[in-house]
C-alpha cells in the first residue's frame, strides 16, 4: 500500500523534475514553431547550469547565478542562430557540435575548479501549502518556479497572438512565402533561438542553483533531448507540450522513488517512456499536420 505521504513526495519530486523541462520546453516550442529545430537545447541547459553555479559561487548570490545562466543560454542561442541561420550550416550538425563542446568544456572546467554551494530561497505560500496531497508539492517551491506563471502565458501570447508570433509561425510553415511578404526569415529564426536560449538557460540554471545547489559533470544528463521529445509529444502545441513535460517529470520521479517504496518495476521502461511516447505521437498524429512544415529545413533565398 502506498501512503498519502508517499504520493505527496513523488508528486513534489515530479514537479521539481518537471520545472526545468517546462522552462526549456517553452523555449524549444517557440523555436520549433519558427522552424528552427535546435537540438542544442541540451547545451543551453548544461552550459547555463555550469555558468549559474560558477557565478553564484563567485558573487555569493544565487540570483546573480540565475541571471548568468540565462545569459549563457542566450549566448549559445546566439552562436547557434548565427551559425545555422546566418551561415546556413546544417542546424543538426551545429546542435551536435555545441552539445559536445559544452559537455566537454563544462566537464573540463568542473574538474579543475571547485565552487561553493548556493541555492535560491524557498517560497512557501501560507494556507495553500496546507492543502492535503497537492499543497506541499505545489506551494512550497524555490521562487524561480513561479516565473513559469508569467513565462508560459507570455510564450503562448507571443506565438499565438502577437504580430511577431504570426510572422514566426509563417516562417516555420512557409519560409518562401514569408520571405516574399518581407519577413526576414533567418532573422526571425535567430530571434526564436534567442528566446529558446534564454528559457532553456533559465531551466538549466534553475536545475543547478534551484534544485541541487551545485554542479556535477553532465548534470542535465540528456534532459534537453527529453524537452525535444516533449515538444514532439505535444504536437507543437504549448499546452500538450507542458503536459508532456509533467508526464516525463513524473516518470522520472517514479523511477527514483520506486526502490524506496519497495516496488519492483522496470526502470528502463520509465526512462525510455518520453522517447517512446514522442515517437508514437509522431507516428499516430502524423496526419493531423501539426508539425511546422519547414521544421529543420534551412532557408536560403532563391532556393525552393
Amino acid at each position: 500500500m502506498i501512503a498519502v505521504d508517499d504520493i505527496s513526495t513523488i508528486l513534489s519530486s515530479g514537479i521539481r523534475l518537471t520545472i526545468p523541462l517546462a522552462f526549456a520546453a517553452c523555449g524549444e516550442y517557440l523555436a520549433e514553431r519558427a522552424g528552427a529545430m535546435n537540438i542544442s537545447v541540451e547545451a543551453m541547459m548544461l552550459g547555463a547550469a555550469f555558468g549559474s553555479v560558477a557565478t553564484a559561487s563567485a558573487t555569493g548570490s544565487a540570483t546573480t547565478g540565475l541571471v548568468a545562466g540565462v545569459l549563457i543560454g542566450l549566448l549559445i542561442g546566439f552562436v547557434h542562430g548565427n551559425l545555422s541561420h546566418r551561415l546556413e550550416i546544417n542546424t543538426f550538425v551545429i546542435g551536435l557540435v555545441l552539445n559536445a563542446l559544452v559537455l566537454g568544456l563544462t566537464s573540463y572546467l568542473i574538474t579543475v575548479s571547485s565552487f561553493e554551494s548556493h541555492q535560491v530561497s524557498q517560497v512557501s505560500i501560507p494556507w495553500l501549502r496546507d492543502i492535503p496531497l497537492i499543497g506541499h508539492p505545489l506551494f512550497v517551491e524555490r521562487w524561480p518556479v513561479y516565473l513559469l506563471i508569467v513565462l508560459v502565458p507570455l510564450t503562448w501570447w507571443l506565438v499565438e497572438r502577437s504580430r511577431w508570433g504570426l510572422e514566426l509561425r509563417a516562417v516555420g510553415e512557409q519560409p518562401q512565402a514569408a520571405d516574399v511578404t518581407g519577413i526576414r526569415v533567418n532573422l526571425r529564426r535567430r530571434q526564436a533561438l534567442l528566446w529558446c536560449g534564454a528559457l532553456a538557460g533559465l531551466g538549466g540554471a534553475y536545475l543547478a542553483v534551484g534544485e541541487v545547489g551545485s554542479f556535477n559533470q553532465n548534470m542535465t544528463a540528456g534532459r534537453g533531448y527529453i524537452v525535444i521529445a516533449a515538444v514532439i509529444f505535444g504536437a507543437w502545441r504549448l499546452r500538450r507540450t507542458l503536459i508532456g513535460c509533467a508526464l516525463f517529470g513524473l516518470a522520472d520521479a517514479m523511477r527514483l522513488a520506486l526502490p524506496a517504496l519497495g516496488l519492483t518495476m522496470n526502470s528502463q521502461l520509465l526512462v525510455v517512456a518520453p522517447y517512446l511516447l514522442a515517437l508514437l505521437a509522431m507516428l499516430f498524429f502524423a496526419n493531423q499536420n501539426r508539425e511546422p512544415r519547414a521544421l529543420g529545413q534551412p532557408f536560403e533565398r532563391g532556393s525552393t
Binding site: 537540438i39 551559425l83 550538425v93 557540435v97 559536445a100 566537454g104
Partner: protein
C-alpha cells in the same frame, strides 16, 4: 499590382548575375574553358585556407583553455603523443579505437551523400552490439564461423534499426533526423534491459557471487584477433574490416551507377526523381547501409580487445557520436575518413594519458568539437561570401537601365 508585373516582365528575359553575357570582345570560349578547368572548384582554395585558419584557431583556443586553467599546453601535447603514438603499445590502442570510428564514419558518409542525415549511429552501434552478443552467446557454432555470424548479425540488426526510421518516414512522414535521434535513447534502454534481465543477457550467477549488469564474456571463437605478426604492434581484424569498407564505399560512390544515383539523390532529389531514381527505396537503402556499418562497429567494439568482450550498457563509449563527427570533418568523403578516424583514435587513446599532466581528459572532447567546427564552417562561409558578392553584383546590375540589347535576343 501592375507595377509588380511590370517589374517581373523587365526581369524575366534576363537575369543579371545568374547568366552573365559575355562582354563584347571576350567571346573566347576555349580560353574560358581552360580557365575554368585551371581554377579549383568554386571557392576551393579559399575554403582550404579558411580551414587551415580554423584549425589553428581551434588549437589556439584549446591551448588557451589549458593555460588559463593552470596546465601546460606543451605537456598536454606530449601526453597525447605518449598515449597514442610514442610506442607500439600506444599505436595498438590508437588503431583499436580508430577501427569502429572508421566504420561508423564510412556509414555516415553513405547516408549523408544520399541527403539523409542519420544522427542515430550511437543507437545503431548499441543495437549491433546487442544482437551480436545475443547471437554469439546463444549459438553453438564452432570458431571463426561464429565470428562471421556475430558480425553479420550485428550489421543486420544495426541496418534494420536504421531502416525502421526510414520506414516511419515512408508510412507516416516522421522526420528521419528526429526519429534516429530518439531511437538512440530507446536502444540505450534496450541494452540496459537486456543486461539487467537474467533470462536475456545478464551474466549467469556462479555460486553466491553478485551478478553485474553485463553479459557473459563472448566465447573465444567469436573474438576478433590480430592480423599478421609484428613484434609489438597488434593490428586488429576490425581495422582491416573498416579499411576494406571505406575503400569499397569510396569506389561504389565514385564509380558505380548506384553511387551516381545516390549522389544525384543527395544533390537534387527532384531531379533524381525525374531521372527515374526510386527516391524512397534508394534513400532508405542508404540509411540502412549506414546503420549496418554502425552495427558492425558495435560488433567490433564487442569482439575486439578495445573493450572487455562483454555486452555492457556503456559499450558504445560515444563511438557512434564521434564517428559521425569524423564523417563531418572528412566532409563525407569515405577515403578522407581514414586519416580523420586515425586522428580521432589518437585523441581518444592519448586522452587517457592527459590525467598525469593534471589536465582533465575532457580536453579531448573540447578539441574534437572545435575541430569539427573548423572543418564544417569554412565551405559554408566561403559559399556565403561568394553569394553575397554575386548578390551585390546583381543588385548593381539591376540599378542600371536594363540592357535589353542584342545579347538578350540570343
Amino acid at each position: 499590382m501592375n507595377e509588380v508585373r511590370e517589374d517581373l516582365r523587365q526581369d524575366s528575359p534576363q537575369r543579371p548575375g545568374r547568366k552573365p553575357h559575355p562582354a563584347p570582345g571576350t567571346d573566347d570560349t576555349s580560353g574560358r574553358r581552360l580557365l575554368a578547368f585551371l581554377t579549383p572548384s568554386a571557392g576551393g582554395w579559399q575554403t582550404g585556407l579558411a580551414t587551415v585558419v580554423g584549425v589553428l584557431v581551434a588549437l589556439a583556443l584549446s591551448s588557451l583553455l589549458i593555460a588559463v586553467t593552470g596546465g601546460s599546453p606543451l605537456a598536454s601535447v606530449q601526453a597525447l603523443f605518449q598515449g597514442s603514438m610514442a610506442n607500439w603499445t600506444a599505436w595498438t590502442s590508437t588503431l583499436l579505437y580508430a577501427a569502429p570510428l572508421l566504420l561508423v564514419a564510412v556509414g555516415a558518409c553513405v547516408s549523408a551523400r544520399s541527403g539523409t542525415f542519420n544522427i542515430g549511429q550511437e543507437g545503431q552501434v548499441l543495437i549491433g552490439a546487442l544482437f551480436g552478443a545475443w547471437v554469439g552467446l546463444r549459438l553453438a557454432v564452432p570458431g571463426p564461423l561464429l565470428l562471421v555470424i556475430v558480425l553479420l548479425a550485428a550489421s543486420l540488426a544495426g541496418g534494420a534499426w536504421a531502416a525502421l526510421s526510414s520506414l516511419m518516414y515512408r508510412i507516416r512522414g516522421v522526420n528521419i533526423v528526429v526519429s534516429t535521434l530518439l531511437m538512440i535513447f530507446i536502444a540505450q534502454q534496450l541494452v540496459a534491459f537486456a543486461v539487467n534481465t537474467s533470462w536475456l543477457l545478464q551474466e549467469s550467477r556462479i555460486g553466491d557471487a553478485i551478478v553485474s549488469p553485463q553479459s557473459n564474456p563472448l566465447p573465444a571463437g567469436a573474438l576478433l584477433g590480430s592480423v599478421g605478426e609484428y613484434p609489438n604492434l597488434q593490428v586488429n581484424g576490425g581495422l582491416l574490416l573498416a579499411l576494406v569498407g571505406a575503400v569499397l564505399v569510396a569506389v561504389a560512390l565514385a564509380r558505380t551507377r548506384w553511387g551516381f544515383r545516390l549522389t544525384m539523390l543527395g544533390l537534387n532529389p527532384l531531379a533524381a526523381k525525374h531521372a527515374g531514381v526510386r527516391v524512397n527505396a534508394l534513400g532508405g537503402m542508404a540509411l540502412a547501409i549506414s546503420g549496418a556499418f554502425a552495427g558492425l562497429a558495435g560488433a567490433v567494439l564487442l569482439t575486439s580487445p578495445v573493450g572487455v568482450n562483454r555486452l555492457q550498457s556503456g559499450i558504445a563509449m560515444n563511438i557512434g557520436w564521434d564517428g559521425m563527427l569524423v564523417a563531418l570533418v572528412a566532409r563525407n568523403r569515405p577515403l578522407l575518413t581514414i586519416p580523420v578516424a586515425l586522428l580521432f583514435g589518437v585523441l581518444r587513446s592519448g586522452g587517457g594519458f592527459l590525467a598525469a599532466t593534471g589536465v582533465p581528459p575532457f580536453l579531448v572532447d573540447v578539441v574534437k568539437a572545435l575541430l569539427v567546427l573548423a572543418f564544417v564552417a569554412p565551405p559554408v562561409i566561403v559559399a556565403m561570401i561568394r553569394r553575397r558578392r554575386a548578390g551585390v553584383r546583381t543588385a548593381r546590375a539591376e540599378h542600371r537601365p536594363a540592357p535589353v540589347a542584342e545579347g538578350a535576343a540570343l
